[in-house]
Symmetry: D2
Subunit: 382 residues, 4 copies
Amino acid sequence: MERKLRMGMVGGGIGSFIGPVHRIAASIDNKIELVSGAFSSSKEKSFLSGKNLYLNPDRIYSDYIEMFSKEQHIHSDNRIDFVSIVTPNNSHYEIIMKALDSGFHVVCDKPMTFNSQQAIEVEKKVNETKKLFCLTHNYTGYPMVKEAKDIIAKNQLGNIRKIVVEYPQGWLATKVENNAPVWRTNPKIAGISSCIGDIGTHCENLVEYITGLQIVELCADLSSFVEDRELDDDGSVLLRFNNGAKGILWASQIAVGQENGLNIRIFGEFASIAWRQENPNYLQIDYLDKPREIRTAASSFVGEISMNSTRIPAGHPEGFLEAFANVYKNFANELSDLISGEKLPVHKEYDYPKVQDGVRGMKFLEAVVKSSDNRNQWVKIS
Amino acid sequence: MERKLRMGMVGGGIGSFIGPVHRIAASIDNKIELVSGAFSSSKEKSFLSGKNLYLNPDRIYSDYIEMFSKEQHIHSDNRIDFVSIVTPNNSHYEIIMKALDSGFHVVCDKPMTFNSQQAIEVEKKVNETKKLFCLTHNYTGYPMVKEAKDIIAKNQLGNIRKIVVEYPQGWLATKVENNAPVWRTNPKIAGISSCIGDIGTHCENLVEYITGLQIVELCADLSSFVEDRELDDDGSVLLRFNNGAKGILWASQIAVGQENGLNIRIFGEFASIAWRQENPNYLQIDYLDKPREIRTAASSFVGEISMNSTRIPAGHPEGFLEAFANVYKNFANELSDLISGEKLPVHKEYDYPKVQDGVRGMKFLEAVVKSSDNRNQWVKIS
Amino acid sequence: MERKLRMGMVGGGIGSFIGPVHRIAASIDNKIELVSGAFSSSKEKSFLSGKNLYLNPDRIYSDYIEMFSKEQHIHSDNRIDFVSIVTPNNSHYEIIMKALDSGFHVVCDKPMTFNSQQAIEVEKKVNETKKLFCLTHNYTGYPMVKEAKDIIAKNQLGNIRKIVVEYPQGWLATKVENNAPVWRTNPKIAGISSCIGDIGTHCENLVEYITGLQIVELCADLSSFVEDRELDDDGSVLLRFNNGAKGILWASQIAVGQENGLNIRIFGEFASIAWRQENPNYLQIDYLDKPREIRTAASSFVGEISMNSTRIPAGHPEGFLEAFANVYKNFANELSDLISGEKLPVHKEYDYPKVQDGVRGMKFLEAVVKSSDNRNQWVKIS
Amino acid sequence: MERKLRMGMVGGGIGSFIGPVHRIAASIDNKIELVSGAFSSSKEKSFLSGKNLYLNPDRIYSDYIEMFSKEQHIHSDNRIDFVSIVTPNNSHYEIIMKALDSGFHVVCDKPMTFNSQQAIEVEKKVNETKKLFCLTHNYTGYPMVKEAKDIIAKNQLGNIRKIVVEYPQGWLATKVENNAPVWRTNPKIAGISSCIGDIGTHCENLVEYITGLQIVELCADLSSFVEDRELDDDGSVLLRFNNGAKGILWASQIAVGQENGLNIRIFGEFASIAWRQENPNYLQIDYLDKPREIRTAASSFVGEISMNSTRIPAGHPEGFLEAFANVYKNFANELSDLISGEKLPVHKEYDYPKVQDGVRGMKFLEAVVKSSDNRNQWVKIS
């Protein structure tokens, strides 16, 4: 590409946590520039947000409808290439559909939609419009997650037998809703689940990404430990995979003292791997026939895929933002190639979460809630 | 006591793993001496074993029946005070019953019996004979496990909400039965379960010991991953506790590279604790209102109960054998007091696993197998 | 500021490791934009590098002399505000002096100069020109390093007694010079030292930054373990500080398997702290009167200074690039305030490494080499 | 051997820390029994101590002179084989000399003597009397220390270049002498050094044991940080080894929060190893050409020597007492063989610290103090 890709953002105005994350992630590799946005449902806040970002005031909009409509008529030398959607869950569907219909490629924060029906419609729309769609399941962007995936793809674990994935947090251990509105626990905004919807789906996505397996059946037990909370703040799920592997997935928002303890262990016939999000530059591998091994990101002992996902030498930690940036980078690579007419070799694929991941996530989530609601019976995922 | 307690051992002859463990554990605190034994079902092996232990040949026996019978007729100045039973699971019941009937106190390796029916009968016999009974659920002997129990007893966690306990091992990841007989996977010796019977019950006992809670309902999914294996080598269990807490218990013998990864995390309203058997001298505590804390065994920051369970200053690690010795030490304290007519203050109790723990373990195990066999339905524990 | 600060870069063209690091660090907080550069001593490479960065070709220069000269004549609405110098050690002095004389503020990679004489002249020039000068001793940018400094500034350690700081690397454990030129071990480019000059000075800077103390005397033992290497690849130094504290500083480039193991431990009268660069989001604090504490970056348990140096919630690791970005951010804050005429409250200071740090570093380095060359005698630092 | 070895103890009465450690260590492997003792300089306390240990009152003595004299006249079927000396430093010399002259083999707590002159005389006496002498430098008993030694003996590190060994403790960080007498800081009992004498010598012994190298020159800086303390409570030492390796040794008793942080890292041409006493069952190995490896005690990945020094399967931690027991075990093996006339194969040796280690330790200690007293000049060790 002779130029940077041009991004427009919906949501992410002043006070947002995830907006700046997306902007930093998009900018780190110098392939994308933010040129326009509708940053808030408040017109004033949107303009102030855009001004703080040094945007051209002509490209700051009152809402996404205005934004898409006006951007469509900007000359292609200047028009945004794609939209980044960082609003709460309940608004994703309409914005995505409109963006795709308006001819823009889309990056969207997870979860993709409010329910699986919407997810399926989004998938259909993506297929129809042939636009690129990226869902920012950011944890798959970590270099050592990619190393894990690579190791498994090379069959170095043999048949996978058991998987344990967990994501404990503690920020909802008390009735924080008393102090400030928390949309994660508000069913009108968050949907049918808080804990599993927000972080359980990260577990699901991480497992399926690394292993290439699919969850086919599950038994879930959700809880709301804090009084008067409308949605789950904790959940435990037994899993069965399409290769016969068994698994456990648990997530919690009431695990006092836990920050973002996403953690996965995968046990195969010949070897096992373990990875922790909070110390992400290490991958532990155990073997039947040799001692435990610790591989470090960017070292000469990791594969090409992982190596290409790091920017600095081994021993200089990269973190959450860089992992998030890898999602944007790989999306940007495909979009650049699409625009410039280049192609990856047939056997390769652009490595970022796509619309199918969003559909899987919503189906998983609905199965979990169905199981838990239905006296914790086993439920199949279609 | 003016003298050491006298122990007779059943099982634990040449080649045994657990026999030497019991003997070391019994001897470390210099309160118990081994004076007699029936160490093997082979008379020759029993005698050779006893000789290697420098026992008086008159006190080495061909089998436990002879042993109990002859020891009964030895003068009380010399007779054994108690029997330590370290044979495989399937023989425990008969030996225990005979020992109690012969007037001896009993220490028995876990699991206590072959099934819950036997367990209940043992409990009844213990109550009838008024003999002491100690079940060596050794992990409860670790000082920082006792510290955890103490912290919870003082209500420093508030209401307990979520518990995750696990015990991964990897030694049965391949068909080791091809090389040598493995009684753990032989239903005739091990009973209805291998993985949950051997190590899942440790999880159950540890949870109930530390928290004082009881598991009241569970949903289990057991597997035999290695071909032609007759019993489970992996299991995952969802738990519900009598206070409303939820939990996960999993154990595995096919987790490649795992040694004895017993690990427990308990999340309460105000604080959480985490402990790992493989690095047992540390206890991690998280709080709502202050940073993570790491307490170390024998430091000035642990409570009296934990402190009394250590022998050397902080920073000099004590391990598995010392934890095991704590079980024997506390049993010996009660037995000494019983013999000498001393009494603990009313409000205290001698801290070691007793016959009720054995009954709980068997009921738990049977519930797990029942759930798994019955299409993974939820099962209540009486 | 109504606009981003404009940066011109000297060095950092295609193939450079540190150039991209500076560019990412400068851009992460959206306060600085790269607008011009002389990226290489090769004109062609400079232009290709600038083009890859999507720069306006008019602002890509053949060398820094042309760059400074032409940029001086660009209108102040568009002219660069400061120069970022990322060339090898031996060229820093001339570029810095020229940049300051041309009226530009300066950010410079460390070490600042080739020797202390040059360093003193740079300091004089900075004082004369009243331009800002930032030396990118990036490790001081880590949030938990700032937390450590803050804790000590609040006297929570009491009088500091003992400091141990180390920086082991392993990349020069073999004769890598056989495969490719390595300027770090070439005295014409690196100066009088490789190991201590490159990474030992990071230790020195980190210690003095965190503690506010100064090294006043030292005894050093440098080695070149790899055959025919002209400069040191390992060094150990005993330290004495101006408050009477004692210390050890060691660094190595031949420590097989070590990546960037920068690690500092500071022992005071009442408490001690420990921090590790490879897992930088944790700070361990030990106390006389309570258990070990682990503080995590961005948690509610860290102070304001540390908190202001993080971008994302606790448990989402930030790394090397974000720490580096903190140096640029704090420099940018001062420069913005200078340009816009704003002022910090008198009692505060802009927290980034300045020219004095560069002078200290060169004096330290020369003292180390002098000690080692002079039969490892003790040497005072003026 | 047809019988256990018979041990008599000097020192270690009621209230002693190290006495029980020696008794447990001696007893764990069931090769040694305590049969007599002079446990205290107070006759009453000695008798009470012996009674608490269930000893035959005839074998409890008022002092070591009486003990040696009377034991010499006991029939060889019952007489002690060896003496274990666990008194403070200043009394070792006389007791050792007397024990050897009385025909007893000796185990002695470290440091061996009060000064190197005494050490040399002990060495001469051991050689004259041909009695066995064991110095309980217990840290060399850890299985993974033996694994490290084994790895180096097999030249898997190549030429050793750099060694860093440290032993921080914090128990003397305050003026604890105000509350109770502390013989470690009393020059009349402890000798010329507290910190280096007590724990620095453990570092020296560990380094020389693992590597097989000798320290030939050093430069030391000792401090007494706590007011009015007569001996050092902290020390840092630069080391040079007989193969050209460089090293750092530091120890401290004022490192707040540290317990027994003995820690060693050894960097060779091809590989490096790291071991920590507080988590002793792991050995970290780094290689030039493959990822970091973690070996665990008793696993199938450790060598025969290490394996023979463990008692229970991998993942069940052994600790300080078991390591200490390995010293006694290996001493007992040699003594048993000596008594029974058996011989090890010529190429093997009994692996425990001997009189030469004691001489080395005293020479090292004197060199450290000499260097520190003499304006921190370099001092050679003969």
